[in-house]
Amino acid sequence: MGTGRCLKVWDLTDPVSSITFQPQSSGPVLAVAAGRTAYVFRAFTYGSERDGDVMGSTLQAMHESDGLAQASPDQVCEWSLCSTTGGLKISHKVSCVPPSP
């Protein structure tokens, strides 16, 4: 903010419709809506993250489960690791119920 210089650019392919910072996190964690996917990732990492950090523990659990969340038949979204951002990718599955007029 002090210099007005762009520090980092993430190419998420789809147009970005919404973006917001996570409150009460040890580092700047972003949530971004682009296309059918919500991305959650750290904008920057400042060395070691604070113990109990939600993003850190979630990413660690994702790595331990080979990048996939527990699958359930009624799962509305698919959780995976994102190679572009180094964070989480939450893909919304296509709804089977048409919108009412």
Binding site: Q22, P23, S25, A33, V54, T58, V76, V94, P99
Partner: protein, 218 residues
């Protein structure tokens, strides 16, 4: 028929554990709540109540605000029921909402150029309806610390207003227009698509159609 599920907005719970996504074309799956530590997602609603434009958590209480085209529904997540239904009235549909840090006030941006202030303790109709914009209000935002709020519009302006909220229930909120920030529309730029405040400073940041991000300082 397979509707396209595009994520419209993302919003965090104040503790940063839950993430909320709203998908305008998602029918009964328009609102999805994600729990990060559990890595799970769930749809809190079974019925399709209309096109969801925005959704926000209450900053302190287990309430969920869901804005559809014509109204804003406030759900109690503990009792899993509808707590309140706010009517915007008029002809414009809802473009976006923001909840005050106290959780008792709400601003709503509308497509007919109005911005409505709701006092949730007072009424289910707007306490004030502000007509500062000639084109749709695309974004609204409360400052998390200062008594300020902003409205962004397709007309290329962002209005900053003083919005004082009193802890005394008998005193109504004080809303005073402060400044109309004119972007670069006069220089050929587009409308303002979104606005937000700096978390500590009384600074407002706007995003324009032309791809520019402008920051205004006090």
């Amino acid at each position: 028929m397979t509707p396209q599920v595009l994520v419209g907005t993302v919003s965090w719970h104040s503790r940063g554990v839950y993430l909320l996504t709203s998908c305008p074309g998602g029918a009964s799956r328009s609102v999805v709540v994600h729990h990060l530590p559990r890595r799970s997602s769930q749809c809190p609603f079974r019925k399709n109540r209309g096109t969801v434009r925005d959704a926000k958590f209450h900053p302190a209480k287990p309430f969920l605000f869901v804005a559809t085209d014509r109204n804003i529904r406030v759900y109690n997540l503990t009792s899993q029921g509808l707590a309140k239904k706010l009517q915007v009235g008029g002809s414009g549909h809802v473009m976006g909402i923001d909840v005050h840090s106290s959780g008792d006030h709400l601003i709503v941006g509308l497509a007919d150029g109005r911005a409505c202030w709701f006092d949730l303790d007072l009424s289910s109709t707007p306490y004030r309806s502000l007509r500062h914009h000639s084109l749709p209000v695309t974004g609204v935002a409360f400052h998390p610390r200062y008594p300020l709020f902003a409205t962004a519009s397709d007309d290329g302006t962002c209005h900053v207003l003083h919005g004082m909220v009193y802890s005394d229930l008998m005193t109504n909120p004080l809303v005073v227009p402060l400044k109309a920030l004119k972007g670069d529309r006069e220089k050929g730029g587009g409308g303002v698509q979104s606005c937000c405040f700096h978390p500590q400073q009384p600074w407002v940041v706007t995003a324009t159609d032309s791809g520019d991000v402008l920051m205004y300082c006090n």
